[in-house]
Symmetry: C2
Subunit: 207 residues, 2 copies
DNA sequence: GTCTATATGAGGATAGAC
DNA sequence: GTCTATCCTCATATAGAC
């Protein structure tokens, strides 16, 4: 079964490259190392991917565009606002402390500027797609009067900025991950602040 | 005047390295290029700085630790809260769109993890020092009853996260700078949101 | 498709003359 | 202190056999 064997090696190479790029960045992930980790020769690696840049682009596209498989970002709002937003905020905070969000964040900031032709596309497929989904959720909460949302996109920016905070930055520079309790503490204070700022207006039009 | 000539060459080298590191990052800023840009030979460069890592550390320490010379972050609070915070927010947004803040942000995220022994010190001297100054300012506003600040450090995190938002990230990956109007629009919405969330409580202890 | 072996070039660092 | 010329390592990429 040639195809199966081929597919397996292909997947090994992709998987190795994915892990190495995310772990050590573009420069430090040499093709030698990728090949060695995947258990193939460099020539084989180059037979599948024309160049290192090419390999990088393919990996990043998959990582970046893959919809978040966690169950913390629902497609539509049901239930109580605070519970839904807390679930989302906790999931996203962890996504940026140890998960794929952190890996993509580092690769974007450290290396994406070298591939100007990829910037717009990846930005739209990654960060902007996430913002759109959050904005849609907040808009639904606004429509039901559970929050006072004038501009969903801006509100989404505010929520995302607050929940991420310094987490991806601190992690990227090499600081150790905060404890679970510390993450939840930060998430909770950001969440309560967000809910205060976007609380529905009362009958006199005040907050 | 040997010393003057020496000092001049020294400064040329430092200035070139500073600009190149900030512009293209650690890897892409080769010692060949630094020397060429400074108008000296590589041997001269190495006579002044033992290694590239050494040069990087010296540059980053100066850039990072230099107190912000802009006049948008006052040492102590006087005047009206909204005006002071608006001035601060606008200054900081621009600092992270085109200024030294952006350069330091990129160097930190992209390259600092390679120098584990520098992380803690630079983090304390840079981002944490900024946070402390903002926290002090917010604490003073809280003491005068102009804002409801329970935890100044956390409030400072919230303000900094909101004002920076996606700006340094977007700029780092290679997106063009937003217009002046766009910056001010984002700053204003972040500011109004912050003021809502930290508005002083009324006589019944409500917001 | 996959391997071993190698071409080619870039970049960090140094030797030795002045 | 400063230069020119050079060493050496390592990384991308390829040639050629199987």
């Amino acid at each position: 079964m040639k195809t199966t064997a081929s597919a397996t090696k292909s997947e090994m190479m992709l998987e190795s490259a994915r892990g190495l790029f995310a772990e050590v960045g573009y420069e430090a992930a040499s093709m030698d190392l990728v090949a060695k980790t995947a258990g193939v020769s460099k020539a084989t690696l180059y037979a599948h991917f024309d160049s290192k840049e090419n390999l990088f682009a393919e990996i990043l596209e998959v990582e970046n565009g893959r919809p978040e498989d966690g169950d913390w970002l629902p497609e539509r709002f049901e239930g109580d606002v605070e519970g839904v937003l807390r679930r989302f905020a906790r999931g996203m905070a962890r996504f940026f402390v140890d998960g794929r969000g952190l890996a993509v964040y580092r690769l974007f900031v450290a290396d994406l500027h070298r591939f100007p032709e990829l910037v717009a596309r990846f930005h739209a497929a990654g960060p902007m797609a996430m913002r759109s989904r959050v904005a849609r959720l907040l808009a639904q909460m606004g429509e039901r009067g559970a929050l006072a949302i004038d501009d969903p996109e801006t509100a989404a920016d505010h929520l995302l900025s607050l929940v991420q905070g310094r987490l991806p930055f601190d992690r990227s520079i090499g600081l150790p991950p905060p404890s679970e309790e510390e993450i939840d503490r930060r998430v909770e204070s950001a969440l309560q602040f967000f809910l205060r700022g976007y609380a529905p207006r009362n009958s006199r039009g005040e907050r």
